[in-house]
């Protein structure tokens, strides 16, 4: 087995669990893996995949999660498993940890961070953020996404942890994260890499600002409900901003016109999920009283993604070794609806990568309707 300098990805749609695990392992085996990540449909045996990868790559930490669809640079679909092996040639060393939230999210995340720190005998906040990068996979049914990102920021504010929230094919019943032979339906899986190559964080969404600013004035923070905007019922103000009546608000409007926190012209999307009795709006991301958001409008997902990927590759000098990607499930729905999935995949064809369709994306915070990822530069 030769060390190489490019990530290797695989996507299997085999329905039979042993066959699927065998295909995933066989697809990655040519790489001397330093770290492995996998993304499994809830219809698959995620724990079985994790065990098979651990047995095949005993020296490579493995993390994974359930999905709302999976992809690599060649295929996209549902019901399968995608995986990526990050080779020794670009990773000097790698560790992983799992945090269980049975005793609370804060304790679970801190436990995982303590584990990472102990494995290398380091303090995460002291690590050089240009040489180290983290991945975070969050279970998707308990709404801890914001808190997990905040805690990672509190412990290691300069370090990039990039990732996504586990899915379950839009059933919204149960999701899971995996780490080696462990799994949990209420926790987080973390991975930390020390790199031999430069890397860049990719973050892109396809929306334009409409110049309409709204101030959040009453919320239920835990339930991610906004009750009032600008001192009036939230649904009424949101509908006014769209130029329609409340009864016309539907998932199509929510997807086309989300709101965003905007800093330095960079939007961080928050998606409306539904109109509630009492005039509130439930969101897929937390908003707080006093926050100012802007109404956004959907644009060309292909063009925006292409430009973002090209810019990210250019930041790495035009040469890349691969990527791990986290794509919002709403974006997948949009791609399928507009029959753009093949064109979308075409953007990544030169980038050996795997990823999944998420229930939220992570980088510095939690967001919606976005593609996040880590792109690895080439060696030399």
């Amino acid at each position: 087995m030769a060390t190489n300098f490019e990530c290797r990805s695989i996507y299997s749609k085999a329905a039979e669990p042993t066959t699927c695990a065998s295909e995933i392992v066989a697809g990655l085996r040519a790489t001397e893996a330093a770290a492995v990540m996998f993304f499994a449909s809830p219809a698959q045996d995620g724990s079985g995949i994790a065990r098979a990868l651990r047995d095949a790559f005993p020296d490579a930490p493995t993390i994974g999660c359930t999905t709302a669809g999976e992809f690599n640079e060649r295929e996209m679909g549902d019901g399968g498993v995608s995986a990526v092996a990050i080779p020794r040639g670009i990773v000097r060393r790698a560790i992983s940890a799992m945090g269980d939230f049975r005793d609370g999210c804060d304790e679970g995340v801190r436990q995982a961070i303590r584990s990472l720190s102990a494995q290398w005998n380091v303090t995460l906040r002291d690590l050089d953020p240009s040489k180290y990068v983290g991945f975070v996979l969050i279970e998707g049914m308990h709404g801890y996404d914001e808190r997990v990102n905040e805690l990672l920021g509190d412990e290691a504010p300069l370090l990039n942890f990039v990732g996504g929230t586990a899915g379950d094919d839009l059933k919204f019943q149960s999701t899971a994260v995996f780490r080696d032979s462990q799994s949990t339906n209420n926790g987080v899986a973390l991975m930390l890499l020390e790199l031999e190559v430069p890397f860049a964080v990719l973050k892109t969404c396809s929306y334009e600002r409409l110049g309409k600013r709204l101030t959040i004035t009453r919320v239920d923070k835990v339930a991610r409900i906004v009750w009032e905007i600008d001192g009036r019922p939230a649904a009424e103000v949101y509908a006014d901003a769209l130029g329609i009546t409340v009864d016309k608000l539907d998932p199509n409007e929510f997807a086309t016109y989300p709101v965003a926190l905007v800093m330095n012209d960079d939007p961080w999307i928050r998606c409306v999920q539904q109109v509630l009795d009492g005039g509130g709006l439930s969101f897929a991301c937390r908003l707080l009283e006093g926050m100012e958001v802007e109404v956004m409008r959907s644009t060309d997902i292909i063009a925006a993604t292409k430009i973002a990927v090209q810019n990210t590759v250019a930041r790495l000098g035009g040469k890349t070794a691969g990527a791990v990607l986290f794509n919002c499930a709403w974006r997948k729905i949009e791609l399928e609806k507009k029959k753009l999935d093949k064109e979308y995949l075409h953007i990544f064809e030169e980038l050996p990568s795997a990823g999944f369709h998420t229930y939220g994306e992570s980088w510095l915070g939690h967001m919606n309707c976005t593609l996040t990822g880590v792109v690895f530069g080439a060696k030399g």
Binding site: P129, E150, E292, G365
Partner: protein, 67 residues
């Protein structure tokens, strides 16, 4: 009490690089909604308090202890 602008300048010193500063500024923004780079009101006491709490949680002691 320091203004947002003063906290921003001290945070720049403590984080040492623009990349690190921007990363922390974005974390504060996503956590609180307060834009430390381009604040709506440089002297807003509520916004200043939110920034200070976030900085303390992230361990930026120099920035918040040298008012």
């Amino acid at each position: 009490m320091a203004s947002i602008g003063q906290l921003r300048e001290k945070l720049k010193l403590e984080t040492k690089s623009s990349t690190a500063f921007n990363s922390v500024a974005m974390r504060i923004f996503l956590k609180t909604g307060v834009n430390i780079i381009n604040p709506r009101d440089d002297a807003d006491p509520i916004a200043i308090a939110k920034i200070r709490v976030s900085l303390i949680e992230m361990g930026f002691k120099y920035t918040v202890t040298t008012d």
